[in-house]
């Protein structure tokens, strides 16, 4: 069982959506700070700061080989759980945005059909 301090470090590490995103990325492969920064809209120093927080919480470890320092996800139930949650949150985010667009399109099409049906009367 992890100590209270360790658990607090884990919670504050996982509370941030960017850090959960980084964990989800690392679930598929080890990655350098450059690789992790590429898909994000924040700077490399900011990503480095997030990595430090994750490392302190022992959710990741960082190796140094030459000048490339790769981050690796450490096995822990909470980490696995956080990655699972993050994946599904991303899934729902993108699906529900598409749902909004779909609902708008269906209703616009229905209104257009109504207008067409109404046209003869409007013209009369």
């Amino acid at each position: 069982m992890a100590g209270t301090d360790q658990l607090s470090a884990v919670f504050s590490a996982l509370a941030d959506p960017t850090r959960r995103g980084i964990l989800a990325e690392l679930a598929t492969r080890d990655a350098t700070v450059t690789e992790l920064t590429a898909p994000l809209s924040i700077s490399m120093p900011a990503v480095s700061r997030h990595l430090k927080v994750l490392e302190r919480a022992e959710l990741i470890s960082r190796s140094r080989s030459g000048k490339w320092r790769a981050s690796r996800l450490e096995a822990a139930p909470l980490r696995e759980a956080a990655v699972w949650i993050e994946r599904y949150r991303r899934f729902w985010d993108s699906s529900l945005s598409r749902l909004d667009a779909h609902l708008a399109a269906v209703q616009a099409a229905a209104r257009a059909t109504d207008r067409m049906a109404g046209d003869p009367k409007e013209l009369a």
């Binding site: 069982m1 992890a2 658990l7 884990v10 919670f11 996982l14 509370a15 959506p17 679930a27 598929t28 139930p77 909470l78 696995e80 759980a81 956080a82 699972w84 949650i85 994946r87 599904y88 949150r89 991303r90 899934f91 729902w92 993108s94 699906s95 529900l96 598409r98 749902l99 909004d100 667009a101 779909h102 609902l103 708008a104 269906v106 209703q107």
Partner: protein, 153 residues
């Protein structure tokens, strides 16, 4: 199981009447046009829907950019109230993206009327067994706390 705290809770208001939003989840032609991330396709001839308590929803997702993937979704519906509620066990299998194991997760979607002809969706989702299994009492409290943090955002 049902009474346990869900790990994911999403509330979202859609600008459409409840009957239409419910149909978007239960009519295959509707679902195929919005479900999943951008870039996926749901072949219509591989969709099988029998929406009722004890029924099912089955479909396959394919991805033009990753032809090696084939994701099978089988939902065993445990609870259905027309226009109001869908609950079931959501099974994910097939040739999945790297890092994703076949799993089953309990999923509950509730539909509520909101002002001005809009609809509030409440989506709840529970951990698959292999994750829930890890949850000894200490971790269980941890998950609940983690949950609260995520929902607050």
């Amino acid at each position: 199981m049902k009474t346990e705290t869900p790990q994911i809770v999403i509330t979202r208001v859609c600008d459409a009447p409840r009957e239409l939003v419910y149909r978007a989840f239960t009519d295959p032609d509707h679902l195929a046009s919005w479900w999943g991330p951008i870039g996926n396709t749901i072949p219509r001839d591989e969709m099988e829907f029998d929406v009722r308590p004890g029924g099912f929803q089955r479909w396959t997702e394919v991805f033009a950019a990753q032809p090696e993937l084939r994701v099978h979704i089988h939902v065993d519906l445990t609870d259905v109230v027309d226009g109001e509620l869908l609950e079931g066990v959501f099974h994910v299998s097939g040739r999945l993206p790297e890092g994703i194991e076949p799993h089953a997760t309990r999923l509950r979607v509730e539909f509520y009327d909101e002002a001005d002809g809009r609809t509030r969706l409440e989506i709840r989702q529970w951990f698959p067994e292999h994750l829930a299994h890890h949850a000894e009492e200490g971790w269980r409290q941890a998950f609940t706390k983690l949950d609260a943090l995520i929902i607050e955002r």
